[in-house]
């Protein structure tokens, strides 16, 4: 049995420091640490990590280069497959993907693939003559105009792949800032300059961006605006509402409202909204257990809340989000209440929320999603004091196209119908992918959907008939 060294831990900001700033918590590997961690990889032939990566990142290949100190080559291999490794290495729940599949992880700690990928990217950015992350684009002859609606990870990956193939891409975004969901990720997880650098790279590749532009008439892009292909990547941005009594009391807001009011400046906020500069002395209750719940918990802690409680109806093992976020929230002092579900909101003065009434839950048999479904325990009701309640029950797709294109949307949550294997929708020339098709999922799965759609749009341009592209069963994942 070979001797396996323990996983190399990255430099972290100490907890007291972290709570005073919005800088990245994980500071990444120093060169020696990265080499030591890379050498833990046994470069196994089966490459289970690669199979578990939604993008099929050739992990053992670039780790082999890294082991030899060939950073540029490692970065080149990553970039051949991954459209946005700088982002994915920070945002992926690696323990459920590549690292969860790592052969070393069966008996020992898995290789820190995410941290290594981040190291390779950060190294490349830091080096004055590092590899230009801008991929070469094909010559523009015979190029076509294509449009992407929305500027989140799915559209950005699509735009990059199409620009790389030599087509002229226009991205439409309804908000003043580009990035879609990537804009709402707190800076302590994703520094905004990384997103800006990514967008700048796409601009250098010739992608045109229109912000503040609503596309409500898809056909017209094809018929009136000379676009030959359209990609719908509008994501899932509508906050799910729990439909509980008292939900409209003052002091209760959605996770999006909380994060937007914290991270946007006063001038940029819509319609006289007050920015949230701090929550000093306030008791914050975050409801939900996914990554956006953890984002809100950790943001509230940094805004100096008196206490931050997070209530989730399942147990810790069944939380949907990334384990590293939960661990960080715990370290930072969050009070996590598992098996706890809200049933009503109460107010002392009839206007603002003052308590959340909850029930304790127990786990029953697995439901359709394979997770054990929570059931309330009789007579377990209790109240939590709260001055600010953040609802983080996940997101739904806003059915913006249903007036004109009901056939693009599958009820009840209005997901866009597309062939999951090709991204093709019922409308000729129109593809879709990402959260708007699958419901809320990961940044990397959205990126893959964008790449898949681009690949099949190229086949469509090459003459593949539309009925072939839509031939596989057309389903929305909600169905």
């Amino acid at each position: 049995m070979r001797d396996v060294k323990p996983r190399v831990q990255p430099a972290l900001q100490p907890v007291p420091d972290r709570l005073r700033n919005f800088d990245e918590m994980i500071q990444g590997y120093a060169l020696e640490d990265a080499l030591e961690e890379a050498r833990r990889c046994i470069l196994c032939k089966s490459a289970r990590c690669q199979g578990a990566c939604p993008l099929g990142n050739r992990i053992p290949q670039w780790i082999a280069e890294l082991q030899q100190g060939r950073f540029e080559e490692a970065y080149r291999i990553i970039r051949e497959i991954s459209p946005m490794p700088e982002l994915c290495s920070r945002l992926c729940p690696q323990e459920r993907l590549c690292e969860g599949a790592c052969a070393l992880g069966i008996k020992h700690e898995p290789v820190a693939i995410g941290l290594l990928e981040r190291f390779v990217c950060d190294q490349n950015r830091a080096r004055p003559n590092g590899v230009d992350p801008t991929p070469a684009t094909a010559p523009m002859t015979g190029s076509k105009r294509v449009a992407a609606i929305g500027s989140g990870p799915a559209s950005l990956a699509f735009a990059q792949a199409m620009a790389r193939a030599g087509h002229r891409v226009t991205v439409f975004e309804r908000w003043p800032k580009l990035g879609g969901v990537l804009r709402w990720i707190p800076r302590f997880k994703l520094p905004s300059e990384l997103l800006d650098a990514h967008l700048a790279m796409l601009t250098r590749m010739g992608v045109t961006f229109y912000t503040n532009t609503e596309v409500s008439w898809i056909e017209s892009l094809l018929t009136d605006e000379d676009f030959e292909g359209v990609f719908i990547g509008i994501g899932a941005s509508r906050p799910s509402m729990p439909q509980l009594p008292g939900e409209s009391l003052k002091g209760i807001c959605s996770s999006t409202e909380f994060l937007v009011r914290t991270f946007y400046s006063r001038e940029e906020l819509p319609n006289d909204w007050e920015p949230i500069a701090d929550v000093i002395g306030r008791r914050v209750v975050v409801l939900g257990g996914g990554d956006s719940a953890m984002d809100c918990v950790r943001t509230a802690l940094r805004l100096n809340a008196a206490e931050v409680t997070c209530a989730y109806r399942r147990d810790e093992a069944n939380m949907p989000g990334s384990k590293k976020e939960v661990r960080a929230a715990k370290e930072e002092g969050a009070n996590l209440q598992w098996l706890t579900a809200p049933v009503a909101f109460h107010s002392d003065d009839g206007r603002s929320v003052s308590q959340v009434e909850c029930l304790r839950m127990e786990l029953g048999p697995p439901d359709a999603s394979g997770r054990r479904s929570p059931k309330p325990i009789l007579n377990s009701a209790f109240r939590m004091e709260a001055d600010l309640v953040v609802l983080a029950f996940g997101y739904e797709v806003e059915s913006v196209f249903d007036n004109e294109h009901f056939f693009l949307m599958a009820p009840p949550k209005g997901t866009v119908r597309a062939n999951p294997n090709t991204g093709a929708t019922a409308l000729r020339g129109v593809f879709a992918g990402g959260d708007c098709v699958t419901g809320p999922n990961l940044v990397c799965t959205a990126a893959r959907a964008g790449l898949t759609a681009a690949q099949h749009m190229l086949r469509y341009f090459a003459g593949e008939p539309w009925d072939v592209l839509t031939a596989a069963p057309v389903v929305g994942s909600q169905a």
């Binding site: 503040n212 609503e214 409209s248 940029e268």
Partner: protein, 284 residues
């Protein structure tokens, strides 16, 4: 020339083709926005940003012309952004016009539709009533304002209604009193209740009163909840409202809702509501 041929329109913004002062605090702008004009339908709104880094405000579409590529908005000076907007002149430009957003107005089955416009709500009412008129529905309008000088769009509405009744709080023009009082006196002259339908756009207290009157009379009614909208794209949930026991978002599920299903009492409790009331008080 389609608007998206490789030069970003954001460089120049959306040109103001005309500006007209309707009341001391209300302006009508005709904007060049072909993209929005082509897709717009009655009842929808746009989100406007005046300057770079400025806030986004939802504004109801007061008129649109797909052929001419224009969108008309009526703006009341109530906040910092609407003041900034109202300071712009013909030939100038607003930075962004995002839209059309929201669900279009859908008439129920009324043979006679009474449109009620309170204050500058008449602006949002106009395309709805015009659309109904063009579809062959018998239309009437009741307009209300604090005084005569705050009454707008009476002439335009006359062009698409068989009857327009105006009311002012001080009696300086038309009926002296509230739009609901005017409605109550008008109803007996209109015959069969089952053929009637009401659409109301205006300050929240007015719409609440219209909801109460029509509910009592058994007349279907719709109201526009755009006064509570925040960002207009359904992503913040700041404009949530209980309609028929279900939480809805005014911006994407509305702005028009069944008046009898809206939980107005809850809306009154919410902060935004007070703002809307203040705005109504300040501006008539």
């Amino acid at each position: 020339m389609p608007p998206f041929h490789d030069t970003p329109h954001t460089c120049t913004g959306f040109r103001i083709l005309s500006k007209e002062r309707l009341t001391p605090v209300t302006n009508r702008f005709v904007l060049e926005a072909p993209w929005v004009a082509r897709a717009a339908q009655p009842g929808q709104f746009v989100v406007v940003r005046v300057v770079e880094g400025g806030e986004r405000i939802p504004v109801t579409i007061a008129d649109f012309d797909a052929q001419a590529g224009t969108v008309t908005i009526v703006v009341q000076e109530v906040g910092r952004t609407s003041r900034l907007l109202c300071a712009l002149q013909k030939g100038g430009a607003v930075l962004d016009v995002v839209g059309p957003l929201g669900e279009p107005f859908r008439a129920l089955k009324g043979k006679v539709v009474i449109g009620i416009g309170g204050g500058f709500g008449a602006a949002a009412l106009y395309p709805i009533v015009r659309g109904l008129h063009q579809a062959g529905v018998m239309t009437e309008a009741i307009l209300g304002a604090r005084t005569k000088e705050f009454l707008i769009l009476e002439r335009e509405l006359r062009g698409v209604c068989r009857e327009v009744l105006s009311c002012t709080d001080d009696g300086s023009y038309g009926f002296k009193g509230l739009v609901t009082e005017c409605l109550t006196t008008r109803l007996p002259q209109l015959g069969a209740r089952e053929e009637l339908e009401v659409v109301a756009v205006g300050p929240m207290p007015m719409m609440r009163a219209v909801a109460a009157v029509t509910a009592k009379q058994g007349i279907p009614a719709q109201v526009s909840l755009d006064p509570i909208m925040v960002d207009g794209t359904g992503m913040c949930g700041g404009c949530r409202v209980t309609v028929g026991g279900e939480v809805k978002f005014a911006c994407v599920d509305g702005p028009m809702f069944d008046a009898h299903q809206v939980d107005f009492a809850e809306l009154v409790r919410r902060n935004k509501m007070y703002k809307a009331e203040e705005a109504a008080l300040n501006a008539g």
